[in-house]
Amino acid sequence: MAAATAAAHVGARTLLIEREEALGGVLDQCIHPGFGLHRYREDLTGPEFAHRLVGELAASGAEVWTGSTALELGPSRPVARVVGTAGLVRVRAQAVVWAAGAWERPVGALLIPGTRPAGVFTAGLAQRFVNIHGLIPGRRALVLGSGDIGLIMARRLYLEGIEVVGVLELRPFPGGLLRNVVQCLHDFGIQLRLSHTVSTLHGRDRLTGVTVVEVDEHGRPIVGSEEHIEVDTLILSVGLIPETRKIEPWVSLDPINGGADVDGWFRTRIPWLFSAGNAVAVFDLVDTVARVGERAGLAAARHARGDLPVGETVPLVREGNVGHLVPTSLVPGVATTLFVRARGPLPRARVEVGPGVVSRLHVGVRPAEMVEVDLSPEETTKLASLPEARVEVRPA
């Protein structure tokens, strides 16, 4: 929505294609607050944040198609084949912004031994059942994964009267925002077990329980630590993966982000194709997603009017403690904000881009919260002159 609004505002004829009937994507099911603190200086719920953007979109003059799915994109030209209840349509444009969000890693990808019963849900699916369809997934639940969505769902299920026996986290630190650890778990006495995971599923038709096990620093189960827990519901928060289905044959994907490689304009290696939001890398704040969406929309509009030159970009190389990194390359002479996610927590960290170009001190770096580094046009030009431009997060 932010991309379409921005593009329309600078005069581009803009079409937003959305596969659901409602606008807002995952915001529609995120009925909890925590959105908009930066963008609107208010603590809004997901639907309220979406409502603001819908209003901005409507005012921008962009055209909107809901209940419409893009079947094919490109590859050689910015043409999309779209299907809806009115039939199939081919849409021709000069630029495309791919902002299809992210999908959840399923239980099957974890290869947990045991049975395959009903009662296992990814957190987002459980969230839709509860908040959109008004359905309770089960009576007694365990949450696997302490990412934000797992923490949020622990609270949501608890508030709807489900017994939440705890949250398990494979790593020795929580995956989600500190605010959520406090307000979803501490507030309600829901136990968080770090360095734990599920090693077996039980129950043929419906889940009857799981075997929980402690893991060592390499994530390997510690023999003898097995414990059987009776639950009829397992909620999984084990990874969000950028949705790149229609563009992945044509673009290069960053293996750590999961989404397309994009430069300071959020442009992929295909000059007319831009990508932003969780489709590039999973962000922590929707406010940031809206910002990058705007930037991509503006860039796409400029490209559409022939005003965004294609030139050499500067690939960024990750060093040390750097996980997600957006964008993955820079356009020399163009101011860019880097979004960096650390792999492990550091009480004091130095975020360096260079070597020797930018060095910022950050207190309390956590994987759950991305760090921002603003690069001026001069700094991006300087980085272009280095043999290799590196981004590093290390203890200070």
Binding site: I31, P47, N131, L178, R179
Partner: protein, 123 residues
Amino acid sequence: MTKAIVCVACPVGCEVAAEVVGGEVTRVSGNRCPQGEVYARQEAVEPLRVLATSVKLVDGARPLVSVRTDRPVPLRLIPELTAHIRTLSVCAPAEVGQALSHDLLGTGADLVATRSMPRAAPR
């Protein structure tokens, strides 16, 4: 007595200690900024939270409308508030921002819809 509080005002997560004597905060330490002091003072005495949940929607396009309290309410009242909200129902259509219930359990907080929801389409 001393309460240990993790401040969530910013991502640093300072561990703040608040001394509480006779229901009043006498001393706050461990915070790295003034926001931490403000947060800790409230949290030590009466933690407040915005409660977000759903209300039954009658004749709506969906069975529920998402709601939240329009201001933070005492954490200790959340079980009671949740039980009370479970008894409410509202007729479609609902409008975002619409107050569905006023002064919940005497907290002074209204319950507002966070999403508009039209009536169900005829089958």
